[in-house]
Amino acid sequence: MTFNFKEEVKKEDRFCGGHRMCAGCGAPITIKNVLKALNPEDKAVICSATSCLEVSTFMYPYTSWKDSFIHNAFENAGATISGVETAYRALKKRGKLDATYKFIAFGGDGGTYDIGFQSLSGAMERGHDMVYVCYDNEAYMNTGIQRSSSTPHFADTTTTPAGTVIPGKQQRKKDLTQIIAAHNVAYVAQTTFIGNLSDLSTKAHKAIYTPGAAFLNVMSPCPRGWRYPSEDILKVTKAAVETCVWPLFEVIDGKWVLNYEPTKKLPVTEYLKMQGRFAHMFKAGNEWMLEAAQKEVDRNWQELLIRCGR
């Protein structure tokens, strides 16, 4: 599919406004654009893990979802959509259903990297024809900014506060995209909001229309948890990509493809300095944290280049 911005914006939204997500939240940007990647004639069943997204978009008796939608629990979006997709195959096989349906599950990093990890791994391994989309905002935002295994090293969260003895999260971010790629699924990609969102849209379309299990990891910043002005979201995601903190890549049938290489890789401080959750790293005496963060980004980037055959 060739991305055409003018055509894309003309498509009808399958995710309605009027929901209760915060102004400037990254999650609805992810949801809206992933759903726009569905061919308009195709039906879909959407699943959401318990999350900010779920409680803000399906508060009885209102729903923002124009397609059939199921929320089950926090840790089982992978299994739940597996059940729906299996039901679809059962009904098709028995001649009880004509329409074409696609199956998409959404989870935050809590529901995906952590509590829903087993359910996701099971669904990916079984190879259901589905897409799992993680809107990764790097902490448990629904319960109030607690750390997850996706939270970056040194970040200040409410369960890893930047204290006088322990300065923020002590562990590195889990590389979930690579872990899902190791499941040998049909399509895996990492993306975020860049420019006119062609990267997100193109990858969402590929994920939805590649037969078999697919996984999209979408950096979807949370202005409250990351502590930057809401209107700066696209600056934050651009900095994440230009510093190589969040590279854009795909794994297609096991082949790693780098989608973007900055002409001049920016220092990680350009990304960190925009966000209050990293503010303590810039205090005098904490230079070692900035150095460590840079080393980690450099190492991850080098490893990615090797995987991509560079």
């Binding site: 729903t63 199921i70 089950n72 299994a79 299996t86 195959r89 059962a90 259903l97």
Partner: protein, 392 residues
């Protein structure tokens, strides 16, 4: 025309599943119910059913896939035991509150710890308030028959249903059984076509809302009503089943209760042993009887109480403990029902028995009846919270 066979309880359940040929099964193995998905996946792989079988990575996912599939408009089934049922617990509540009539076969087993693979009712009793209809079987035949009636009951009131039998005691023991003709089974069970579903309807459906205090309690009240309504449905389906097979079922079974002076209230396979005890003691002139509970959810409180009102003393037999320092779960419900009905003349005690597969013999039950006779004679109840056949 019935077919006479010899099957284990697990085989009987798997065979019923095969005859029904549901749309989706999601299951994860656990002793002693493992054979059910094993037999069933052989039916799938040999083309004897065209059910989609999902070999999930846990019981939690088994119930999660069933919820997704049933909400999609399919008949979804699973089977489990013990810790597997515990692990599903969160999802059992969701299945019931989403009003999804999933059918779950449970081969009851003790809970850890100590780890133990043998029978008691700790697993099923642990999820008794999850909102599921629960039927218990004494024999393999009853397990099979309950399963054939399950979907008719659950789908009529939009509640999930658990078909429980005793792990190993009936799940693995081979008994004579009468199987029904598959075409007749399918005719009796019928097709499932819910009005609303995620798939294949003109309108989309949304399942699993966030409900504020403005709506939550009304949704629970509707759920409670469905359980109340289930009682008559169980009786209606049983009546139709009797017309078809000649085998009759009720909410409870009364055995030698008409003139009984001492009685026990019991669930599951031990009722068979207890019936033998009743026969032996009756032959010696003791007026003893028993009540076997088939439907534990909805709880037949009025029926149990009515059957007990003329006895002098009775014991409620719990194959699980509530660890409340007071009584087991069945005792609490029977005693509450008796109090509500104003039936307070009979003396009543509670026995915790058979935990972790401790054998329940004719002598064990005879001991209970002897104790009840002493209580009836002396009026002295003594300790009401007792353990049977235990080394103190």
């Amino acid at each position: 025309m019935s077919i006479r066979e010899r099957l284990s309880g697990n085989e009987a359940i798997a065979y019923a599943m095969k005859q029904i040929n549901p749309d989706v099964m999601g299951a994860f193995p656990i002793t002693p119910s493992t054979e059910i998905p094993q037999y069933f996946s052989a039916y799938v792989d040999n083309g004897e059913v065209d059910t989609e079988f999902i070999a999930v990575e846990s019981e939690h996912s088994a119930m999660s896939t069933c919820i997704g599939a049933e909400a999609a408009g399919c008949r979804a089934i699973s089977a489990t035991s013990s810790c597997g049922l515990c692990y599903m617990t969160e999802m059992l509540y969701v299945a019931a509150s989403d009003r999804l009539p999933i059918t779950l076969a449970v081969s009851c087993r003790a809970l850890s710890g100590p780890i133990n693979i043998n029978n008691d009712h700790s697993d099923a009793m642990g999820v008794r308030d999850a909102g599921w209809i629960m039927l218990f079987a004494e024999t393999n035949q009853e397990a099979y028959d309950n399963y054939l009636q399950a979907m008719r009951i659950g789908e009529a009131v939009s509640l999930p249903i658990m078909i429980c039998q005793d792990g190993f005691i009936t799940s693995h023991a081979i008994e004579n059984i009468e199987l029904e003709d598959t075409a007749q089974v399918r005719k009796f069970v019928g097709e499932y076509h819910p009005e609303h579903a995620l798939l294949g309807r003109e309108n989309p459906m949304a399942v699993g809302a966030y409900a504020t205090p403005t709506y939550y309690i009304e949704s629970k009240r509707l759920q409670a009503q469905a359980m109340l309504d289930a009682k008559q449905v169980i009786l209606d389906v049983a009546a139709e089943f009797k017309k078809w097979t000649g085998r009759s079922y009720d909410l409870i079974e009364k055995y030698q209760m008409d003139d009984a002076e001492e009685a026990i209230v019991i669930i599951g396979s031990s009722a068979g042993t207890a019936k033998e005890t009743v026969n032996e003691m009756r032959a010696q002139g003791h007026k003893v009887g028993l009540i076997k509970i088939r439907a534990f959810r909805p709880f037949p409180g009025a029926e149990i109480t009515a059957a007990l009102k003329n006895v002098k003393a009775y014991a409620v037999m719990d194959k699980a403990d509530s660890f409340n320092g007071h009584c087991g779960p069945l005792f609490a419900e029977v005693a509450a029902a008796a109090m509500v009905a104003g039936v307070t003349t009979p003396k009543v005690i509670n026995y915790i028995y058979g935990l972790g597969g401790r054998d329940v013999r004719v002598e064990s039950i005879a001991h209970v009846f002897t104790e009840l006779e002493n209580i009836a004679k002396t009026g002295n109840v003594g300790e009401t919270y007792r353990y049977l056949d235990v080394r103190e």
